[in-house]
Each structure stands twice: as C-alpha cells, then as structure tokens.
C-alpha cells in the first residue's frame, strides 16, 4: 500500500527447523524405534530489511505461526540459525554480557543462553491474534503497558512511564489516552483491545514486530483501521514486521514481500503484488484461485481448483517435493517430461531466484532443475 524505502538487513533466518517429537510409547521405546517428529517448520530461510513488512502466508498447519514463535524462542528449535541486528542500546547491553556481533552488527539469537536473550526480548515483540485472550483481564490498560516498561527498565519514574504510556496510546489512536488508561480490557471493543495489544508491542521501541494474524478476529469494518495503524507505525518506529496471515488479500494490501509456506517450507517468495498477480509455484496458484474475491459473477461458475486431496500429515512428509502428491502440474507433465517425473518425487527442490526478486522451489522452472542437476545448489533436504 504505502511503499517506503527499505534499510539494511535486520534479520537473516537460515534453514530453521522446528520439529516436535512424538511420544514413542512403551513398545517403541523397548524396540528403540527412531523417534517420530512433527515437522512443523522444516528448513525455512529468509531475510528481512529495515522497515520491511514481510508476510508469511499459508493454510493452517503450514508452520507460519511456529516460525514466528521460534524467533521469539517460545518453542524449542531443532536446528537452524537466526541472525538479528539489535538496536544500539540493546547491542551495548549484549556486548557487556560478552556477546560479540558479526561485522554487520548482527547476533545469532537462537543459540544464545536464555539470560543473554532477555535484552533482545525488548527488540522483538509479538502481537497475537486474539485480543480477548492476550490481555490480562485483571490489569488496567496502564498496568498492561507499564509492565513492559518495568520488565525492560524503561523510564526512571512513575511519571515518566505514564507519559510514555500516554504517548503510545496516542500512536495507536486510543485518544484521549486519559479516557482509556484506567479501563480494564473487558470495557473495550475488539478493535480497541487489539490497539492496546499493539501499544504493548511497540512501547519498548522494538526493531522487529511479529504480528500473528492481528486482524483475523476483527470485523471487516474495523480491520482497515488496525492495518492503517500498523502501516503508520513502521515509519514512525523504523521497525520491520513479520506479518503472519492466511488472508492473501490482506497480505497484498499491507506487505512488501510475501513468502508462501506449505507443510513447513517456503515454496515461493517475492514482491507481494507480483506474487499474487502472477504466482510461480503451482501451490500459490491453487491458493489464489481458491479465494473468493467479492464479485457477483462468482456464483455463475465453479471454481477451478488446481489441487488434489488434502494437506498430508506433517509427521510423514512426502519425499521429494512435498507438494507433488497434490500437484496437478506434476500429474499432467510427469509422462511428457520424464526429467520432471523423476525429480519431483525424489529430490526436494531448492528455493531459486528465477526472475529478479522472485524465488520459487519448483522443477517447472529449468533453472531450478539445472542448478540441482549440476550440483551448484544442493537439494533442499540435505542434512537430514
């Protein structure tokens, strides 16, 4: 919507995996069967620049929320790295604790001891989906916001903190602040609560905000207002967002870039508008074809769904390209194009830049094939 100039890279995620082990049961334990995992996030890499709104989209269970939680270390990771560029103040604190940044001023955040990660919690904040569940019902709005300041030791005195709280409430358009400051969450509407949740996320001046479906629980008529608040804040705070959503129309409206996830992996990344106008991956194409855009013509035709079956279980990920059992393109081409017929079910496609700024993991594109065949890029599932 409003494009802004992006700054340097502030987050680099490399091959992140979050696998949840399943309980083995007594027989499995005795027989020493190998443990089974739910592959919630299975090798995800992306970079985010300053002031960028980066969108993770996908259906439920594709791992988009888990990716966000992993970056905040709310779930244990299996492997992978995330390099993050903290704000100056935070970096100074980290250096005092003995953490040395790389030459770009970035620190690896997923393998730090929890104690050293704590200062970073100020820089990376989260906005949750449900504004009814994410605010403590027994806290007044000012207590909800002041808690953040106390935890991160921001503000010398009570007055200073109160002043900051009022300023933040104005930023999220809860005006006049004096009218909201002493209220409890149940005295606010859904949209107002979500603005309190946003205020809580921004009050410590974070560099990265992870917004997990921040508007999906809100009514259509107030969604736009929340999206506008979020858009205004990024320039005001110089912050980047990871915006997690299942709604591609919202993603197109608010994001700079979109990453489409399927079964724990990113299958396509690119400019938000380009990806939606011209999807490269067969899954993205199917996803977009399934969305009803408000148009009275819709009822006159059946939707052409280029996808088969249902999302498979994340424990037993299909070999090769994880989408191939559902892929209509693979079905049509596997006999005609022998090479594709061989590759899709056997070798996981890596994410390759096939056009400027457009990355896709699909053997439909000759470049992806040749890079894998010549061994320039290793297939995505290496290291398993």
């Amino acid at each position: 919507m409003y494009r802004v100039e992006l700054g340097e890279e502030i987050l680099k995620v490399k091959d992140l995996r979050v696998w949840f082990p399943l309980k083995r049961g007594i027989i499995g334990t005795i027989l020493r069967k190998p443990p089974l995992y739910v592959h919630a996030v299975d090798g995800v890499s992306f970079n985010i620049r300053k002031r960028e709104i980066f969108c993770l989209v996908g259906e439920s269970g594709c791992g988009k929320t888990t990716t966000g939680k992993a970056l905040l270390r709310l779930v244990p990771i299996y492997s992978g790295e995330a390099w993050f560029k903290p704000r100056k103040e935070t970096l100074a604190k980290l250096e005092a604790m003995g953490v040395t940044p790389n030459e770009n001023g970035m620190v690896e955040i997923l393998h730090l001891p929890e104690k050293k990660f704590k200062p970073l919690r100020r820089d990376i904040q989260m906005i949750y989906q449900d504004p009814y569940g994410s605010l403590n019902p027994r806290f007044r709005i000012k207590d909800i916001l002041e808690e953040v300041l106390i935890v991160h030791k921001i503000g010398e005195s009570k007055e200073e903190r109160l002043d900051l709280i009022e300023r933040v409430l104005e930023m999220v358009k809860l005006t006049p602040p004096s009218e909201f400051i002493n209220r409890f969450p149940h005295q606010l509407s859904g949209g107002q609560r979500q603005r309190v949740a946003i205020a809580r996320a921004i009050i410590a001046n974070p560099a990265l905000i992870i917004a997990d479906e921040p508007v999906s629980m809100l009514d259509v008529s107030i969604r736009a207002e929340i999206l506008e608040v979020l858009l205004n804040l990024r320039t005001l705070l110089d912050a980047s967002y990871i915006f997690i959503t299942h709604d591609l129309a919202v993603a197109r409206y608010i994001c700079d870039r979109i990453a489409v996830m399927y079964l724990g992996k990113i299958v396509e990344v690119g400019d938000a508008r380009e990806v939606i106008a011209d999807p490269l991956h067969p899954y993205t194409e199917a996803l977009i074809a399934a969305i009803p855009d408000p148009d009275p013509e819709n009822r006159k035709k059946f939707r052409d769904l280029k996808i088969k079956g249902e999302v498979p279980n994340a424990v037993f990920i299909p070999p090769g390209c994880r989408f191939h059992p559902r892929c209509v393109y693979y079905d049509e081409m596997k006999e005609v194009d022998k090479e594709l017929g061989d590759l899709c079910p056997s070798t996981e496609p890596p994410l390759v830049e096939v056009k400027p700024g457009r990355y896709v993991a699909c053997y439909k594109y000759p470049l992806v094939r040749s890079l894998v065949k010549t061994g320039v890029l290793s297939p995505g599932r290496e290291g398993r």
């Binding site: 259509v220 009803p292 009275p296």
Partner: protein
C-alpha cells in the same frame, strides 16, 4: 405465494442486563430455488435470524412478534411438536457453524445420518442406510465414511457430512450458517463448489449466512445486508455490489482488501455497532454514518424500493 415469508420478525433475548433486540423487525421473502445471502458483522443478528426460522432460538431468547410462513404454514403459531413433525428437516434444515462440533463423537457418521430418516419416515434401517450412502456420495465422499467416527475425518470431510445430513429429508430450504468459516481457503472453495452443485442438481433454496463478502457472492443471487438487528439493504447480488445504496453497504465493500486491481486505501467505519439493549433512536447506523442528517437521529428510515427489486432503508433515498 412465496416459499418463505418473514414479516416483521422480532427475536429478543431477555437477559438480566436488559432486553437484547437481536432481530428487530425483519421482512424477507424467498421463492423456491432462490439463493439468498445474509451478510453482516458479528452481533448483527444474522445467526439469531437463522435460528428463528427453525424456531430454535435458545433461551433466554424468544420470538416476540411477527410471522414466519413456510409454504403457507405459519411457523410462529405452531407448537414445538408440530414444528418438529412438519417443518424441521422436511421443509427447512440447517448447516451449522463449526461442523467440527455439530457431529456426535460417539456415533458413526452413518448412524447420525439415518437418525432423522428413521424418526421422520417409515423407511427401514436398510433403506435409510441406502439413502445415507446416496447422500454421502452426492457430497463427494466415499461410502466407507459411513462407518467412521467424526474424529477420523478431516475438517472438510466433516463439513461435507454435515451438508449431507441437512439434505436427508429433501428440504425446500437449507440454511447454511457460516459453513466455511473454520476452513482453509482451498477446502472452503471445495465446499462452496459442492453447495453450488447441490443447488443446481436439487433446486432447493439456500440461505447463506456469512460475514465474508467474498463467500456470499459465491452462492447468492440475492443479498440482504444486516446491521444491528435490521435489514438495511436488499437486492440482487449485482445491485448490492455494483450499486450499493446504503452508506453501511458502501463502506463495508470499500473496507475489504481485494486480490485484483489497483490497491486503493481501505476505508473503515469509525466507532462500533450499537448496544442492542438500547439501540439509538432513528437510524441505527446514524452514529457511524458519514452522510448523517438531522432526521437520521430522530426517525427510523422506512424500507423503500428505490429501484426495481432493490430495497434500502435510508433517509437519503426515502421521501419524507
């Protein structure tokens, strides 16, 4: 005579904190085979309206005024047992919101589908099972599903089972209350395709209740827009989307981000819907309306036919 005629329907909830006027003077007409979409935001009374049509309003709610005529029979004056034997399942059935919870976890799918058949007809178990099998195939599921329990099915499959159940006694009207809200887009599109197919094959009327302006266009020939317990605009889907009259409808359409075309700045409607215990006098949308006039705050606008078949309740169009 229309298949369904609703006149001046009022359904109120008598809570300890006051009377919530969830549905407050709704008029509707539906002919055989028509599809009607009811759109509105949460709390506008659209689900209460659906429950009222089946006389299933949960206490402390009840229908306090108005008539509902289905095939000429006045449902509002019927006793509970009459409604059960003459109306529900046979004339009008419902696909409930959240199919996941609409099925009984301790019965197989087949048992649940045949239950209403055995209760309402004199079919034998075998005949009923045959009918169930026919229905389960009509909704695109393999027959072995009949022997499964609900927890063995995916969300999309459960939704299909719930749709099959709504069709057991070939009702004239099927009400679908947010049938796809909990589903992913791909599954949602499959379910909507299925409902289109069933509508074409069986010719029943469908009332689709949703908050999603995209979903409503998938199925509905006519659309009623509800706000704070009242229908504020009614017309053909084309009229509603291409020439919306009511400021609420206009704002709602402009508040939705689109997948195609230019990205224009989204509009939002300031404020929030009124408390239905104590709605504002005059037009209920007036406190949030950009085009509000003096009269809007004083008098309730009448529903008028502005163009042929396109009705609106707004003082901008009504003659004073």
């Amino acid at each position: 005579m229309a298949l369904l005629e609703v006149e001046n329907l009022r359904t109120y909830f008598y809570t300890l904190k006051g009377v919530v006027k969830a549905v407050d003077g709704v008029n509707l007409k539906l002919e055989k085979g028509q599809t009607l979409g009811i759109v509105g935001e949460s709390g506008c009374g659209k689900s209460t309206l659906a429950w009222s049509l089946l006389k299933l309003v949960p206490p402390p709610g009840r229908i306090v005024d108005g008539t509902i005529r289905i095939d000429g029979m006045d449902v509002t004056r019927m006793s509970e047992s009459e409604v059960r034997s003459k109306i529900r399942w046979k004339k009008i059935s419902m696909i409930f919101q959240g199919a996941m919870n609409a099925l009984n976890p301790v019965y197989t799918v087949g048992e649940q589908i045949i239950e209403p058949i055995l209760l309402h007809t004199d079919m034998t178990r075998e005949e009923a099972m045959e009918k169930a099998q026919e229905l389960i195939e009509a909704v695109g599921l393999p027959p072995e599903i009949l022997n499964r329990y609900p927890h063995e099915l995916s969300g999309g499959q459960k939704q299909r089972v719930v749709i099959a159940m709504a069709l057991v006694l070939d009702p004239d009207i099927v009400i679908a209350d947010e049938p796809t809200t909990a589903l992913d887009v791909v599954v949602q599109a499959q379910i909507l395709n299925l409902m289109k197919k069933l509508h074409r094959e069986r010719g029943m009327s469908i009332i689709l209740i949703t908050h999603d302006l995209g979903v409503v266009t998938e199925l509905s020939e006519y659309i009623a827009v509800m706000y704070a317990g009242k229908i504020v605009e009614f017309g053909k889907a084309e009229d509603i989307f291409l020439h919306p009259l009511h400021p609420y409808t206009q704002a709602l359409i402009r508040a939705v981000p689109r997948l195609k075309g230019d990205i224009h700045k989204l509009e939002y409607i300031p404020g929030q819907p009124p408390d239905l215990r104590n709605p504002p006098p005059g037009c209920r949308f007036a406190p949030r309306c950009k085009k509000v006039m003096d009269i809007c705050n004083r008098e309730e606008p009448p529903m008028i036919e502005y163009e042929k078949g396109h009705y609106v309740a707004c003082w901008l169009y009504a003659k004073r």
